[in-house]
Structures are given as C-alpha cells and as structure tokens.
Subunit: 356 residues, 2 copies
Amino acid sequence: MDEKVRATYAVVLAGGRGERFWPKSRAARPKQLQALTGGRTMIEETLARVEPLAPPPRQWIVTSADLAGAVGSVVGPGPRVIGEPLGRNTAPAIAMAASEIARSDPEAVMLVLPSDHHIRDVPGFRSALGRAAELAERGYLATIGIRPDRPETGYGYVERGEAVGGGCFAVKSFREKPDRETAQGFVASGRFYWNGGIFAWSVPVILDNLRKHMPALHRATMDWQGRGGLAAGPEAFGEYFQPLEGISIDYGVMEKADRVAVVEGDFGWDDLGSWEAAARYYREDGSGNRLSGRALSLDSSNSIVVSDQGLVALLGVEDLIVVRSGNAVLVCRRDRAQDVRRVVEELGRAGEKEFI
Amino acid sequence: MDEKVRATYAVVLAGGRGERFWPKSRAARPKQLQALTGGRTMIEETLARVEPLAPPPRQWIVTSADLAGAVGSVVGPGPRVIGEPLGRNTAPAIAMAASEIARSDPEAVMLVLPSDHHIRDVPGFRSALGRAAELAERGYLATIGIRPDRPETGYGYVERGEAVGGGCFAVKSFREKPDRETAQGFVASGRFYWNGGIFAWSVPVILDNLRKHMPALHRATMDWQGRGGLAAGPEAFGEYFQPLEGISIDYGVMEKADRVAVVEGDFGWDDLGSWEAAARYYREDGSGNRLSGRALSLDSSNSIVVSDQGLVALLGVEDLIVVRSGNAVLVCRRDRAQDVRRVVEELGRAGEKEFI
C-alpha cells in the first residue's frame, strides 16, 4: 500500500440500449443520454456525481462506437469517450480501460460506474465511493452494496462477512437473482446488499485478478497493448475485441477473487429499470396518476403519462403507461413495464428502423 | 305541380364541430373536413354523392363563418359556401338558404343533407334521394327514413302511415330519442325509420310551412331578403341571424306540418357518431383490434388505434381507443367514446387553445 494518495479515474460504462424506456430511449439516443428524472441527462448526472473524486480529465466513458459521437456532444470536451466496436459485457470493457489507464498511470485507482442510475443523496453516494476508493488503495476489489428496502428479485445480492475496518466488510458471497422467498430472507438477515454494479480497485489489482481468473481476456488485452492499445486505432480495437467472450466482471472476477470487500451504501439508489421506476419522480395529480409533460386526465387513475411534446389526454382509463416521444406513442398496461423491450424487438424484426 | 322538371339544389349543412372525433377533428378542421373512412373528406364525399341530382353550381354549403375558408379550399370553386355569423341550428339555416334560392329560382327543389355522414351504397342513396325529390315536386315535405337494424336510442324515429305512391308513405309521427324498450318496439313493428336529417322539398312549400309554423323566423327572413339577403353583406346577415332562436327544422316544421312523406332508405347509412362507429371502416387484425395508420399490437385486443403520423404501439391492453393526431394523443376506454367531447370542453375551460 502506497503512502501517497493515488490518482482516481472514473470509468463510466455507457453501452446500454435502454430498451425498456422506448419510445423515449432510442438506439441513437438511449436511456443514458436522456433526462428521465430531471433537467440533465443521466450520463451528465453520473459525471457530476463523481467529479470531486475524478475530474473530467480522469473521466472515461466506454460506450458503443455508434454512440460515441452523441455521448461526446452531451458530455463536452473534458471526459474521454471510447467507442467499443461491439458490445462484450463488462469484463472486456474493464480490462480494456484498466490496461489503457495503466499506460500512463500504472498505480491509479479506478472507479467503475453505470451511466444510467439515479441517486437521490449525492453527498451520501460520494462518501460511499470515497470509502470504496480507500479499500482500493488497500488492495481490495471493492463493491458498493446498496441496502435493500424490499425483496427485489430482479437484482443480484452481495453477502457481507467479517468487518475489514472503516465500516466495510469482506464479501462472503455473491448471489444471482434470487426467488422471492430467498430475497425475503436476504432482506430480513441484514447481511445482504443489492449489487449495484459500482466498483473500485487499483489498476494493478484488477489486472492481476484478470490474469488469474480470466487469463484469455488478460492475454488478449496485453497483446493489444503491445500493439499500442487505443492509439493503434479502431481496426486494432476491433481485432482485439471481436473474438472476446461477453462476460460480466461480477461473474468473471468478483465471484472468484479473494480480497473482495463491500461498502454499505444507503443513498437513495435507483437503477431506473422501467417506466414504472421513473414515474416515482413525476408529479402526482391526486388520482394516483404520475405525469411528465402536458397531460389531461379525466376519470382516470393510477396511470403514468410522459409527453415530450404536445398533449396526452386520458379518458376513463386506469393502470396504463402512455408515452408520447418523437414519432411514436406507447400505450402499455402498467404491470407490463418490463416487457416494453419486446416492442423494440418486434419493431426490429419488422424492419421499422425509423421507430427504434 | 309543374309539368317540367324543376332545378334541384343541394343544401349541405356543415356547421358541426365533430368534438367526439377529437383529436383528429379540431375547431379549425372539424369532422366534415376530415377523411374518417377513406381518401376524401366527408364533405367532398357528400357533394360527390349528390352531384348527379345537383351539380356544383347548385351545391350550397352552409357552415360557420370561421370555417368558410377551410371549407372553400376543400370543395373548390364550384359550390357556393355560406358562412353563418353564428350557429342557430337547422331551421334558420334552411330558411336562409330557401329564401336565397328563391331570389333566382323560386320554384326550385331543395335537398338538405348533413355533411358528415357515411353512406356505403351510393346508387341506393341516389335512388332514395331521387324519390324524395319527386315527392318534393308533388308538394310534400319529404324525409328519408333509414331502415333501422338495431334499437338505437340515440336517434329520432319517423313513423310511417298510408302509402302515397312510388313506394313512399305519409308520415304518421316523429318520435324523439326513445328508451330502449320503445326502440325495440319500433324496430319490431317495421313501421319506424331512423330520422337521418336528409330532406327534400320545393322552395315555395318550405317557405309556406315556415310562414305557418315558424312565423317569427319567416318574417325575419323576408325582412332580410327585403334588404338584399346575402348580397347585403355579413353585417346584415349578422343582424338577421343573431336574434333568431336556435331550433331544428324537425321540431320547428316537420313535426307540425300536414303534407309530410317518408322515403324508405336502406343504403348503409352511418352517422359516424364516434370513434367506435368510425372504427368499423378500419382494418381488423385478428385480435379484434381496428387499426388506421401505423400501429403495432402486442398481447392487445379489442382496441381502436388511429395514427395520422408516426407509430402507435400497444402492449398488453384491451378495450381502448388510442388516437394520435397532430399535437395530441387521446387514450380512452372504449365504452367512453361518446364522452370524448368532454375532453374538448375541459381543454376549452383550461384555455388550451392549441389543442382544440
């Protein structure tokens, strides 16, 4: 462990498609480039949150090549935007970024963050992230565990073990999406957290763990670095990335590594997984409707309305999600919010590119 | 009765607001100026249907002053478009038109037609209208009775009496909107028709009946004609029209007159009273949905979708009406189709002029 504080980099993973937010989220402007809960886009919010730890010159955004231009114009000239030639899940993206940071700053601390989550308590979040960075300086692979407030079956969980100081814990196990009963047990125990995909480690530690647990990925990454890394251009990036397996860092490294620790976080985290989740941030009208944009509701209740332009009028309906955005309108039963991506799939099959 | 055939004029009443067809029907472009069932606007369809009996120079359209320009640009230079300074129901509009026709053609036959009904069997309609015109030449006030195919409680009914020749009947009574049981009796009897608001009479006969049954209206009309009629300009028109009572020709004349006859019509008449009615002309998708424009339906049934531009996607819903037109979207439970005008009223109260 070094005495001096190492430089901290934020690597923001922004390759998602956000299909559950269709028709607002589109292929060319997905969820992370939308302002779903307020004035700024989710990726801008993400960068602003980490800025005290990692200012723009040390903010790296990994997105898909086709989105790099749009991301760049949203985040401005400070952060570095890297366009992946194709999506390969989180482990390859992290290996790529870690190896590239190592070229100029081999001892750096690296934070990894999703680009499309909502966080209510920003000071609380920064405090947790700071503790994770301290764990990283102590040689841990650190993850932030979100204290669960319900037995959610759609998330992975992290089980804490022994205390390791600073209010943090060794990780005893990672658990995939549990069934309802198991999830209830997790919440009741007080020892389980949601895995929110927010990590901290030092560059040498993550590279060493990749070498141990994902040797093929590590070797390909080192070969690519030997040819120059990102500076070698998009063709070399493609040759490196294309053959890689798409594996998550959770599955590929975190679940197998020895020195893994969790920082408890309780800062109003929300992965904004669907319109149902986003609607919690819209105005309520007294009939249980949640409204964003211009809406008129007559004899209607418990519905979610989003209108980017123009007006949406409800008459005599309930339990619906209605979204008018750009050239498309979605009308969805409220308990089908998770299936909105099926609309996108169907449009893809039908070749309706202008609506995707 | 003259030996020679008199010239026939068609007076099309086009002052309606079509509020039940919001958001497609708007104040500046109401139902009659929309193509709700096919390629041409309803008013164009109406004029084309009567053209063999009344060619464009003898087609008169009575609408509101604020719509006269829009109507004129839809129907072209042939027909005469008259803009009423304010709406006063059908009796004043008919008195005005009859007195004005009388200036140049005092013996003319005058057909009166709504501008926004749908008729499937155009030859059948023309045949019925021809027989009504013959009754008019014989001095009758003629109405076309639509053979009912269901006990509709939303229409007025006409009861037939003695045969008067040519397959037509004297009218025994006019009956206002009946309750359900009464309507069932009407349909079962075979002696009742729907009153579709389609009339034929000669100009001297209708003026004589107005003099007898609506003397105040008749006197005001004659005074106005004494000052020059329409040629005297909009100010004189306003002075004439403003004080008139808004009364229907059915109530003001037809129910009181002696020599009234009905022609049986069975030509696929539809007053297209609501989205529910219009949807019968849209494509069916196998799940009971009726679609007009670009629509995608997933796990959805028995819904009506109209999209003027862009796409409407349904997911997991049923029994809805969804209309995307211009700057507004309507989402309405299907059994509330008659209440769509309440949305327009509410928008009016809220001063939301851009959406009305």
